[in-house]
Amino acid sequence: MHIILLINDNFRGIFMIKFIIALSISSLTLLCILALVPIQLDGNLIYLQDETNDQYVTDQGLNSDDFSHIEKSLIFNDDLQYLAKSTSVDFIVSSVNPYVFSRDWSFTGSLEYDSTSIIIPNSYLFIDSDDFYHILITFEFPSRYANNHLLNLSYSEHIEFQLEQYGMILKYKDREFMTLESTSSQIAQDGFYEIYNPGFTQYFKNPTCRGYYYFKLVPIDTYEISVVSLTANFFERQEPQTDIILLGFSGFRPNPNQVIYIPQTIDLFYIKEDLI
């Protein structure tokens, strides 16, 4: 219709070109506005930087930029003393049986070893003023991925890991927004911990999602904790691709029910010094 008008009527043709140019300029302007306007999450609690918390974490010999404001306030409020940090190690499939090495093939088959996970995990060991050990496991990933994970912990059977707090925040510039609070429902199932990204996506700003698990280490019976050894396996869940590649009239797609996990492991080891 427009093409016929364009060819037949000179005035309308020029008008159409001007209309398209005006439409394009207004779309570009709209995109610029969307890209530059800061994120506003009304109703979500905003955590702001606290100098006292930052100073406390720095005094512990840690880099305050490695922690979110809520994590720093947690360290400060519980009066925690830093002891050790985890290191990244090779992933080894853990046994489902504690005495005989046996694999769970249904899960092992869905692991993809070649890919690199986008999740950056870390764990820190602290001790509080009552001589209780605490472990803070943190992880970070770009928020544009509606990405979820599974966390599996291996530790000594003489220690009980009590999950005290967990959460997920959205970090944008110097502000942090709470997106998931620790009062939510049970997160540990079948030996795996899992907290979901609420799915907030911002294509132009790309904030980061940051989650944490805060555990208290409680000795079982009369056991006195002298060695802390923790192996934490992070499995990044990759949802199956739903894209169909068409060649002629034939379509090709991967198995839509096959969820793939990219594994990575962090290891934390600490021996109490006065033991020797």
Binding site: L6, I17, L28, L31, I244, L246, G248, F249, R253, N255
Partner: protein, 186 residues
């Protein structure tokens, strides 16, 4: 990410303005101007397509082992690239003929016929290779078996363009016959 978005928007804007300018020039009914602009238009459109397809071939080639069915995309892009090169060459020859005022020539009708045939061949090659690949895929895959069929608009469009061009080539052939008879009468 922002830069990439603006690049795509810029490209689309350029494409729209270029097409509008083409319509404007066709409307003026100046044969030489129109043919000269058609050459420019052909080069811009086909070179953009070539760059896109070559990039796609390279990218799919790099990620061939990474994703499960990327080889299908690789085949598809390769088929399109080869046929578009052939179509571009024929289209270029037609425009060269028109530039030197060779309009009612047998070669023009032949070239139009060839372009139309290439569009139809491209669709047929894609359909057949897709069918063969799905059979192989169905037989080789042990864990996940699926035979998937879907309506493909692009293929239908290729068929339509091909058939229209074949009809145009027949009309042109008839016109050449009439033109030649007319020349003999004079």
């Amino acid at each position: 990410m922002i830069l990439f978005t603006f690049l795509i928007i810029g490209f689309l804007l350029f494409f729209v303005i270029f097409s509008m300018k083409l319509l404007n020039i066709v409307k003026q009914r100046n044969f030489d101007h129109t043919i000269a602009f058609f050459r420019k238009y052909l080069y811009v459109i086909f070179f953009s397509l070539f760059i896109f397809y070559i990039l796609m071939v390279v990218l799919t080639g790099i990620y061939l082992s990474t994703y499960e069915y990327i080889y299908v995309l690789f085949f598809k892009t390769l088929i399109h690239l080869l046929f578009f090169i052939a179509i571009f060459n024929r289209a270029k020859q037609i425009i060269t003929n028109l530039e030197v005022n060779l309009i009612f020539e047998e070669s023009n009708a032949d070239l139009t016929f060839q372009i139309g045939s290439y569009f139809i061949y491209m669709a047929i090659v894609e359909i057949v290779s897709g069918f063969i690949l799905s059979i192989v895929n169905f037989m080789m895959n042990t864990t996940w078996k699926e035979f998937y069929f879907q309506v493909n608009t692009t293929i239908t469009l290729f068929f339509a363009i091909g058939l229209i061009l074949l009809v145009v080539s027949f009309i042109l052939r008839k016109a050449i016959e009439l033109y030649n008879e007319n020349q003999l009468t004079i």
